[in-house]
């Protein structure tokens, strides 16, 4: 059952028995978009027409960066001198994010149909789904779904008698957050350590095996069949905020709300409505302290800021933060913000790939300083040290944005809740604030 404000497009079959199977997907209109492109309206749907429709939808990458999907696809060269690849980023590991896991386990066919359509748009015959190694059930479900799609003639050679070919294979990662970054993912998919590549060249020109490649998130692909079926304009208009943010978005809501979970709501919904109406509000007797809006790498919002926040790319930018992956972490007034920050820093220190010095050393430093604060073993200058990292790591000093993610995840918390960090310097015992 849909919660208040939910508009279920991608999630239309969510919660139905056997939602992961092809029968349920087809009954709800699944693979109709593919038939429309290849059979019913085959003269209309040239590769350019598919890309134009996706552009019209204002679909923006759901993996975190929010880059317009149609535009990204248009960057791949048109010629056929090299093979092209469609890669699905199912490495989901941004803290606070769990929507892709649900899609992989419960609704894998939407992503698969979206990848086939991307293949047609880009003249690509090969797709790969890179799943996070921990997602074993998700991987099994995706494998089973791929087999079903082959059996029905949606994958393989001569798809639906069209003469078009698209093959799909899965790949399992093995425990490395950085492999969610698209060029690290490609390195990993080539069987190497997950070290991000210097950009440019971008994957659109030089991606997997040095060939033109698009890398998109699970949710991004899953939106595509609906855009083809009902039109880019229809999808764009689902958004209720800034027109540049089209459609619906999945939010993974966790932390101190009554009903955490994955919800699909129109972009542009006020954040307040999501927390208090869709998710049932906070636990009894508690007040909102802060919200991390889009995964641990996005700057935190105080309760006051959250009051007027809008859930779209532009609304978040206005508050100096980002929609990111839509991984919303809600903190009530029982939260020990210092410990919370330490957990995030601990994670980054463990997951820096080690390639660039400012990131490798910087993320360890951030963790070390916070460990001292948390142990009541810090000087007041240490809080300033935490803030000074902004200039010294990230900011273009590294190959990939991991270091920026550390800075954006940690510094705003220290800035906005500084007195609580300072209280830790003097206290002899940890007392959660607000209690």
């Amino acid at each position: 059952m849909a919660a208040p404000h939910e508009v279920r497009v991608i999630l239309q079959d969510f919660g139905k028995p056997d939602s992961h199977t092809i029968g349920v997907y087809e009954a709800g209109g699944g693979y109709k978009a593919l038939k429309k492109i290849l059979v019913e309206e085959k003269d209309k749907w040239t590769p350019d027409a598919i890309i134009e429709e996706v552009k019209k939808s204002n679909l923006r990458g759901r993996g975190g960066a929010g880059f317009p999907t149609g535009l990204k696809w248009s960057f791949l060269p048109k010629g056929n001198d090299k093979p092209k690849y469609v890669v699905c980023n199912a490495d989901e590991s941004e803290p606070g994010t769990f929507k892709d896991r649900y899609l992989l386990e419960e609704l894998p066919h939407g992503m698969i149909e979206g990848m086939i359509i991307a293949g047609l748009a880009l003249n690509s015959n090969h797709g790969f789904i890179y799943l996070r190694g921990e997602f074993y059930l998700g991987w099994q479900r995706v494998e089973a779904a791929i087999k079903e799609a082959y059996a029905k003639g949606y994958l393989g050679e001569n798809i639906l008698g069209s003469g078009k070919t698209f093959h799909l294979a899965t790949f399992r990662g093995a425990g490395a957050y950085i492999c969610g970054e698209e060029t690290a993912l490609l390195e990993s998919l080539e069987g190497k350590r997950g070290h991000p590549r210097l950009k440019p060249p971008f994957p659109a020109v030089k991606g997997l095996y040095g060939c033109p490649t698009t890398v998109n998130n699970v949710e991004t692909f899953a939106a595509v069949p609906h855009i083809i079926l009902k039109g880019g304009d229809w999808y764009a208009k689902l958004g209720v905020g800034d027109p540049k943010s089209g459609g619906t978005k999945l939010f993974s809501v966790s932390g101190h709300v009554k009903n955490p979970g994955v919800y699909e709501v129109p972009l542009g919904l006020p954040l307040k409505k999501l927390i208090y109406e869709t998710c049932g509000g906070l636990r009894e007797g508690r007040k909102l302290k802060a919200v991390v809006p889009g995964g641990s790498s996005t700057p935190i919002l105080t309760a006051d800021e959250a009051e007027n926040a809008t859930l779209d790319y532009e609304g978040m930018a206005k508050l100096g933060t980002m929609l990111g992956s839509g991984g919303l972490i809600v903190l009530d007034d029982s939260t020990d913000i210092v410990e919370f920050t330490y957990r995030i820093a601990y994670f980054y220190a463990h997951e820096s790939c080690g390639q660039c010095t400012p990131c490798r050393e910087g993320s360890r430093w951030v963790q070390d300083v916070l460990a001292r604060v948390r142990a009541h073993d810090a000087q007041s200058e240490d809080v300033d040290t935490l803030l000074s990292f902004t200039e010294n790591m990230g900011n273009g000093t590294t190959i990939c944005p991991f270091a920026d993610a550390v800075v954006m995840g940690v510094t705003p918390i220290v800035k906005k809740f500084r007195p609580e960090f300072e209280a830790y310097l003097q206290r002899t015992e940890a007392v959660p604030s607000g209690t």
């Binding site: 803290p95 990662g173 425990g175 490395a176 990993s188 939260t335 957990r343 463990h350």
Partner: protein, 165 residues
């Protein structure tokens, strides 16, 4: 070590590897897949399996060794039969994962990174969020997720796994 049998794929892993060989345009992609197969076979990546994978895929052993050390899911030493991965990340923290960690230490007498003397349990502090935050606190035991946990439920789970042995 000449008396030890050197590693090679089990018949199941061999069949899977042959199938995977048809799916990737370049063989180097098989390195990580092959290591997953090894770990499914024997529970960790023995040193001779590194050489074996290198030879089967057609890359240098140092390439494979570098991959094993980079990815946290690949174990270079044997670990317990049940790997208790307790999420240490933000949302699980908010929902009380510390109590789960206390529970493991109290019940099994082991700290993060340690294995029980009977070789049954390893306790791993999971730095990466498990993508189960909506049902936090969460843990992963081998391939399986356990969500919405309490110390009581975790104790019951440990008892059940002990019984299974």
């Amino acid at each position: 070590m000449s008396t030890e049998k050197t590693y090679q794929f089990s018949p199941h892993a061999e069949a899977r590897f042959k199938e995977l060989e048809t799916k990737f345009p370049q063989r180097s992609s098989l390195v990580i897949w092959a290591l997953h197969l090894v770990q499914e076979d024997v529970g960790y990546i023995p040193r001779d399996a590194v050489d074996y994978v290198a030879q089967r895929v057609g890359v240098a052993p140092s390439w494979v060794a570098g991959v094993v050390s980079f990815y946290s899911m690949f174990h270079e030493e044997p670990i317990g039969k049940y790997n208790l991965n307790i999420c240490y990340n933000a949302s699980c923290y908010l929902m009380g994962s510390d109590k789960l960690e206390e529970c493991v230490t109290r019940k099994l007498g082991i700290k993060p990174g340690e294995t029980t003397p009977d070789g049954l349990f390893t306790y791993t502090r999971q730095a990466e969020c498990l993508a189960a935050c909506g049902k936090a606190p969460a843990i992963q035991v081998n391939e399986e997720y356990y969500e919405d946990l309490t110390p009581e439920k975790l104790e019951a789970l440990i008892d059940e796994l002990k019984k299974k042995g």
